[in-house]
Amino acid sequence: MKQTLFDKIWDAHVVKEIEDGPSVLYIDRHFIHEVTSPVAFGNLEKRGLKVFRPEQTIATMDHNVPTLNQHLPIHDELSRNQVNSLVENCKRHGVDLYGLGHDWQGIVHVIGPELGFTQPGMTIVCGDSHTSTHGAFGSVAFGIGTSEVEMVLGNQCILQNKPQKMRITIEGELSKAVTSKDVILYVISKISSSGGTGHFIEFDGSAIRSMSMEARMSLCNMSIECGARGGLIAPDETTFEYLKGKEHCPKGDDWDQAVENWKTLYTDEGAQFDTKYVFIAEDIAPMITYGTNPGMGMPIDGTVPVFDDASSQKALKYMGLNGGEKIEGNTIDYVFLGSCTNGRIEDFRQFTQLVKGHKKADNVTAWLVPGSKLVEKQIINEGLDVILKEAGFELRQPGCSACLAMNDDKIPAGKYAVSTSNRNFEGRQGPGSRTLLASPLVAAAAAITGKITDPRGMTSFQ
């Protein structure tokens, strides 16, 4: 039978199917962090159980950590308590933890791939919706709730209904200054923030094939923002090249054998999808969002749509924008470069390339937050930090930071932030904050001019 890539991986992990119910799905890799794991550990212990397969789980601290002075004790008592709980839980259950101060600490979806813990053909879960990121490697990766975290800790399985299959094909060549972030914002603006609900997406097409692993991760990361459980891309030479030599990847003959297996991970010609979309790469411009869900996105040189429904009007009112007006040229207050969407080395290279030789606008507060300690190290090795400093920018320390504003990195009420993160929900970046989602290039252009600016017009691009 002809199978999709998703079918091949999913079906190989089904332990058992329950009649008129979910499947028992075996989980290869499990990531945990401080926010969605404590109740799971607590319940597991109430049941008198230990973690079933501790070597298949790794832990880090990201959501709730400060991005300045990480060597000092966390001043917020609740945050400190949550982080300490993770340390204790990992110790008691024999789970590897890359916590604050560790060379490998960072955002869970940044460190998984860079340590080679993420590999093609695996099932991967984490109590975080952006687990979809790992699909970039040709794995079935999706976010779960805390009850499910507990299931994985205790049984290395969860109960899950098999999603439907969607294929999104992007053909052609992306234009100058158009990144994979623009591609996914474009796709969500076309199919809406609920268009993928109940589905798992496979991305393919020539524009996808030519993307780097970092770009593919940004794309798959935001699959959840159209409601899909996850997104994945068939592994290829780009994938293998990225993974080779990574800490947790197979070595020597085992590596060769693994690559041979991974080469069988593709959708068979003629396999069936429940839903299909095709988009043309050349149609995609640098994007920016204007509303309060990620589906409310537009080309940066376009005009804000006019709405007659109450929910959309509420969104525009919250954002202080009017339908029919241009968005370019509007003054902004904050720029945030980072998160599991755009906190990788390539994102910092792009941002740096654009700001090189310019100065940060005085009206802009910029938070540049590397996704991990390894990304931070590479930024310094490549000398990007020096260029950024000359342009008036400073680096903070790794964590989720202003993406969800659980720590002190909150955008004040009413202020506009051009943010490379993944959600523009009301108050997401702090109560009353106004988020404009965009690529690292659009963020860089805004940081220099202090306004929403099309990066294609910047001198760095001429």
Binding site: G21, V24, N81, G127, R229, A405, A413, E426, G432
Partner: protein, 199 residues
């Protein structure tokens, strides 16, 4: 063990907003607890209270005419983050059912794993329920999980809703998925051995 889900009759609270994301249901700054308690106080926090912590009277949860165990919400409810705290806060506040025309997948799983029943109706049905409750806040609705029916006797309507027989049994009997998996641990170990030999 979960509380057993029984058939009940209740009034409903209408929140007529689409795409209610989990950051609205429970903002991230309230996710710092290490135990599951007290989340109901912060349900819809930034819609219920202003910056000075004063109640926003116009929000339906603060409107005295609305009460009950059923939350009726606009389509695509629970999108965004996987935080189970969203389901916990709705349950802890006192709701046992959420009615919408569309639920985000992770939220739906989280709700079911906590004894909170998501009832998906059509957009037309949702519009009717919303209008009925807004017009008459005393409207009684019956939730009958056994028959998979949501009924509004005063309007003489009965809506059938979908749920797998597995999940239905879990809710009615108060079973959780974890216990099911524990009972299958030997099959899981066999599967692991098989995979080790196959690759």
């Amino acid at each position: 063990m979960l509380e057993k889900f029984k058939t009940f009759t209740s009034t409903a609270v209408p929140v007529n907003i689409e795409n209610i994301d989990t950051d609205q249901i429970i903002p991230a700054r309230f996710l710092k607890a290490v135990e599951r308690k007290g989340f109901g106080d912060n349900l819809f926090r930034d819609w219920r209270y202003d910056k000075q912590n004063n109640k926003i009277e116009s929000f339906p949860l603060n409107n005295e005419k609305y009460s009950g165990k059923i939350l009726v919400a606009g389509k695509n409810f629970g999108c965004g983050s996987s935080r189970e705290h969203a389901a916990w806060s709705i349950y802890d506040y006192g709701f046992r059912v959420v009615v919408s025309s569309y639920f985000a997948d992770i939220f739906k799983n989280n709700a079911l794993n906590n004894g909170l029943l998501p009832i998906q109706v059509t957009e037309k049905q949702l519009a009717f329920i919303m209008e009925t409750v807004q017009k008459n806040p005393n409207t009684q609705m019956e939730v009958d999980l056994e028959k998979q029916e949501l009924r509004i006797p005063s309007e003489n309507v009965t809506y059938f809703f979908e749920i797998t027989s597995y999940k239905k049994e879990c809710l009615i009997e108060g079973y959780d998925d974890f216990s099911y998996l524990q009972s299958r641990l030997s099959e899981i170990e066999q599967f692991e051995n098989y995979r080790l030999s196959a690759f």
